[in-house]
Amino acid sequence: MPGKLKAKIVAGRHLPVMDRASDLTDAFVEVKFGNTTFKTDVYPKSLNPQWNSEWFKFEVDDEDLQDEPLQITVLDHDTYSANDAIGKVYIDIDPLLCSEAATVISGWLPIYDTIHGIRGEINVLVKVDLFNDLNRFRQSSCGVKFFCTTSIPRCYRAVMVHGFVEELVVNEDPEYQWIDRIRTPRASNEARQRLIFLMSGELQRKIGLKVLEMGGNAVVGYLQCFDLEGETGLVVRAIGTACTLEKISTLPATATHPSNSSPSKDMKDSPQAAPSTLGCRSTHSSPVHSASSRLSQGFSVSVPTLLFAGMKPRHRSSEAPRARQCRPGFGEEAPGVPLSSGPPTPLRAQTFSSFSPSKSYSRQSSSSDTELSLTPKTGMGSGGSAGKEAGPLKALLRQQTQSALEQREYPFFTLTAFPPGFLLHVGGVVSARSVKLLDRIHNPDEPETRDAWWEEIRQEIKSHAKALGCHAVVGYSESTSICEEVCILSASGTAAILSSRFMQDGSLDTEHRLSRQPLCVFSTGSERVEGDMGSSASLGFEEVVPPGCGFCHIPYDELNIPFPAQLTYCYCCRRYKVPDVLFTTIDLPTEANVTGKGCLIQARLCRTKKKAQGEGNATAISNLLPFLEYELHTQLMNKLKLRGMNALFGLRIQISVGETMLLGLASATGVYLTALPSPGGIQVAGKTPSDITYEQHISNMQKKINDTISKNKELHEINPPEVVEEIIGSPIPEPRQRSRLFRSHSESSDEVSELDLSHGKKDAFVLEIDDTDAVEDIHALLTDSPTPAGFYSCNTEIMPGIQNWTSAIQMFTSVRVFRLNANLTNQGLNKIFSDLCENLLKSLYFKLRSMVPCCLCHLNFTVAIPEDELIQVAVTAVAMSFDKEQSLENGKQSGEKTLIKAITENDEQLQFNLELNAETSSPNPLSSPKGLSEVGSHPSARDRCSSWIEQLKLKAHTIRRGSVKTTSSLEKASPLPEGRSRSLRSNRSYSGSSVAVVKMTPLSFIPGAKIIKYLGIINMFFIRETTSLREEGGVSGFLHTFIAEVFAMVRAHVAALGGNAVVSYSMKECVFMENPNKNQAQCLINVSGDAVIFIQESELESTSVQTQSATTHTSNGGEGT
């Protein structure tokens, strides 16, 4: 009985007129929690009622506190007929259950009605008194913190990273219940909204329990999704990474501040306690329902990108998909190929044993009725060797971490950014997909079947990672696409090798433990970590690897490469092998050495398919998937080469299924990793029998491609690596020639040398245009228009090469729906889809042109096929302005790394040390005190916190140098874009409106600001429906209003929690349905994020020099929200 929830209804405003006669409203409020309801008095005849109610008290279990939302209904009193509902407010009280988060919810919240939208606002006060009765066997998990952020939250440090947590709950969808036929749309929508609230609460509670069992106190990278399966139910599922976090106190001395809320406090500082939690973990890692057998296998491909490198794609394409294709048909033959080349994983053994040796199609029905087993399992990546690593040093390391990881069922991490030193090596992208039939689920109301499905996929992912010589998967995510009864489940991540530093491991040797004790405290910004890296290295279980390139070094055995790849010696350290191309799903590690800037790269693909039903449909889709996946990768690779880059980060491949087509959209951020070899060009090769005009055509095309490449290189400031080497000052400086030599030694492939001779160009990527398809492909390649001047774009958190953000940010959501009018060929479809995405991007650039120079970060595209012949594309991203002048200087001044000295003095206050840290660690022979002061005199610096450092230094140098004034005037002279300068002016004259500004961003940070508190997770689900579509401005008007309303509600709830921003915001679902003939439309939106309090960095130092004051103004700018 551990909680008392108290609510007080203060007032209402802007209420709608409910009584036409008087043009007024007699409003009262019902406050409901669980089964208890309280009512306020009726406040007669007012649109701005002042209820000022007593405190309504609910005495409830904390289990209910976690599951249930507080439901506030505003009604209009009617003496003669039934009271009319004005609208509702659902309040998630979860943030109040954690002592480190919010303490009270107080403020104006929009009153929402699913038919009319926002109808006025209500001022409420909500508090929770939690009795700290910590029952070990409780069902609640109050106090476990949840973060959507996929990195260690800014004001915490990770003590331990426990690992993967997942949960899934199922319920009947109220829309499909029989009662829905007789109730109003409003009642149906509200039932659905409430149900999803309840399910999310339950899910979060269950995940929390698992975290507690593991000994953690937080979930980072919490990703919750809905599957609207239709008849079979409504699924809410979530994954996340369990961690033990510790709040970073402002004082460095009290680093090990005990966090009061965490029941697992005892765990925190004692690694000795680890064994006990190991037991817990094992229970966690085998959820009860996971026992179900993996009867069948979905299709899956592991895609270590290297696969396609330097190879002739045409040959491959004909081979690989065929192999896959035939497998469902010839079930018996199939296992031969992949099994011979790799050791059978238990999964595979199981998979194949479950196949009945009969003919393919009968097999499906015999193995299980509920699932369709199509196993076009391929050898793309997993088919290669999964052999153990060779290097003895590596092996030692691996044994250690592996033992830590192998005990987990799924060594997965939803994180995309890591504490320094955590991520050691990256193997490549692993992904798995599986096609399922929803109408074959035995017990639709139970989660078992879906659990089994996901388990299958996760096992697949795990085995793929193994094949890449990796023991963990990072940047892991799961998604679904549903069309009628067919459901595609997808999972993807990046195979990686992690350091055991943040992981529990009972079997660690003492040496390690000793070393770990000082190490185990990691803070997002602390010099200490840097030192740790050194110490860990000296202990000998990891080679000394310059951190800027370490993660690029191959984790697999070079003699036993799981797929054909060209390996070279690392261009940074020259000691370890690196692949020629690297694809990952994670963010660019902050310590990575990058040349130039990055850019958004998208591969887009449409494939028609025949309309079909049931199994036939599923088979057709399964057959198409490998082609789709393969072509997306080819496109990505081509586009990457075309931009002269060699690595992709944040890769997200979305495959959406419709009745007559499949859509594939792969987005990633391309960069040039300094450690990786320079990518060769793209070579066009024609048909062998060719005439002169044809050759002419080919050479024209070749020229175009070459021009594009060089143009792109210029655009993204990708300088030849020779220059880069000098700047970075690699510890083992080697002349370029020698490195070439090195490389040619390692290149044993005849094919490559042949190329060398014929074209005089290394590693040229050959595109054979032997058919019209290929010609189209090349044209498509060249149609991607570059971003307009002043714009950059990426889908990751940070853009390499840009750090000096101003605080002007603009988060936005854009949704487009297109109707395809004609029967189109694949190529026609492709073109349309590609143009659609390109045009959308163009529109975004145009819309945000006032923010130039700016970067669109976290450009997150979501595609869907809401109906036959409709394509829906939704984008959520943030536009962030940066200072152009500084960024230009940036490129030249690599000597700025020396700034680190300033940081060491003050590291604890800094928010962005993480990045700085990375830089410290990169060896820099140029660093000298002289350089330091030189840098200090410029208002430019590399990092976001640069101006702060500047200031420190300026402070120090003020008297001596007397240059402060000059600097500031320089700064002011820099031409601010009009909009910004305007806002600057206005902010001085207007003392602020009555509504608090709430910033929103899909990123985990706010430029120029320090997050001082996380207030809890925001997870909201809304349904909006209309029966007067035309009157509301058509579909666009309807959706525009709805999205604006969703933003408004998110902002209001954050403000009520006492916050001023939402970070890691995302719109996870936007399901739009229309019926223009009936003048109706319905839309469902699910959004989430972390509510935070931030303070402008400039406000941190009240005694600021003028340099700073210049930034202050911009950072306070109202524009930047």
Binding site: R13, I832, F1047
Partner: protein, 362 residues
């Protein structure tokens, strides 16, 4: 070719901070259709910006227009703009939105000035639109704004300009213009006669300002409860007493000789002035004495033009001559010993003088 194969069903862009393009806002306020707005933007060189194409521009314009339409409901009660939650708009942008929404074409205002702001007049908007070249939609907005402001402040007590500013959050300049419109609409001054056509909205707005400042109840009493919209009845009644200036032959002659003495050699039109002094004086005093009738109040401006300005103009008075004349005409009354209503005279002539000077042009 692309368009044949697909069509945009839905296209929205929503920013956390509402994205507002001031140029597009103006086009929307001007009542342009989306198609026309796109054309105008292209002509203004919008395609050069950011490598845009016509499609991008169309999408942007539609989206902006929709945003403004959504904001319109709020703009109609500006005090709500600041504490609504739907749009996150920085305060300075809020001010801009409101100010621009309430800005009007003086051409349009000139046409509506003094007319009853009723539905009947709204039908005339079509005519006004075709006359002034202002798009009907824009006329509607402007007319509705006049009506809205009028309705709100009509019954309010206290200074008119301040009331408008407080309720509609407008700048001082714009609030003054609205005060003029409200004032004219309330007193229904005749402004539509052909002879008054040469006067601009700004001329009338100036006169309205003078009338509000000196002839209303609020002008003398600083008590806030007083109303600013109506002319002070008592004052108008007292104006009858000025008749003595023209009815008393001695006084009229004395007045004339005083003025002539002052102006001799100073104005070019001295002889014409001397000849028409009695007529002019009679005109001004008669206008004053008739103001007790509502009908005559309405005719104030036409009377001034017909009975005073036109005679002067036909005698080719310069503005300087007129100023000198009016100055001495009103000041020399102080030396008329028999005349007792000096205060009323000054209050009357102060306004009349500045109005005439403002109105005296081609």
């Amino acid at each position: 070719m692309l368009f044949k194969k697909m069509s945009m069903e839905l296209d929205v862009f929503v920013g956390n901070t509402t994205v507002l393009d001031e140029d597009v806002y103006q086009l929307w306020l001007d009542g342009q259709t989306v198609t026309d707005a796109v054309r105008i933007r292209i002509e203004a060189g919008a395609l050069q910006e950011c490598e845009a194409n016509a499609e991008v521009l169309l999408s942007d314009t539609m989206d902006q227009f929709r945003t403004f339409q959504m904001c319109e409901r709020l703009l109609q009660s500006p005090s709500k703009v600041a504490n609504q939650l739907l749009f996150q708009i920085p305060p300075h942008r809020q001010t801009m939105l409101i100010e621009r929404y309430y800005e009007f074409d003086s051409m349009f205002a000139r046409e509506v000035l003094g007319k009853k702001l009723s539905k009947g007049t709204k039908k005339d908007l079509d005519d006004i639109g075709s006359k002034t070249g202002i798009v009907l939609k824009s006329c509607r907005r402007q007319f509705d704004n006049f009506k809205r402001v009028f309705k709100v402040v009509e019954e309010l007590k206290g200074p008119l300009v301040e009331n408008i500013q407080r309720h509609f959050l407008l700048s001082d300049v714009l609030a003054r213009d609205y005060a003029a419109i409200v004032f004219f609409a309330n007193s229904r001054f005749e402004t539509g006669k052909r002879k008054l056509q040469y006067l601009s909205f700004q001329d009338f707005a100036f006169c309205a300002g003078q009338l509000i400042s000196y002839w209303t109840v609020g002008a003398v009493d600083n008590v806030v409860e007083n109303m600013d919209v109506d002319l002070e009845k008592e004052f108008l009644h007292d104006l009858k007493d000025l008749k003595v200036l023209v009815n008393d032959k001695d006084m009229l002659d004395q007045h004339k000789s005083l003025v002539c003495a002052q102006l001799r050699g100073k104005i070019k039109v001295f002889s014409e002035m001397e000849a028409s002094f009695k007529n002019l004086s009679r005109a001004l005093v008669n206008i004053a004495s008739k103001l007790t009738h509502t009908k005559d109040v309405r005719d104030l401006f036409i009377d001034l033009v017909e009975k005073f300005i036109e005679p002067c103009r036909s005698d080719k008075w310069t503005i300087g001559d007129l100023r000198l004349f009016l100055t001495h005409y009103s000041s020399s009354v102080h030396t008329l010993e028999a005349f007792r209503r000096q205060v009323i005279w000054d209050r009357y002539m102060g306004v009349i003088k500045s109005c005439i000077l403002k109105m005296y042009h081609d």
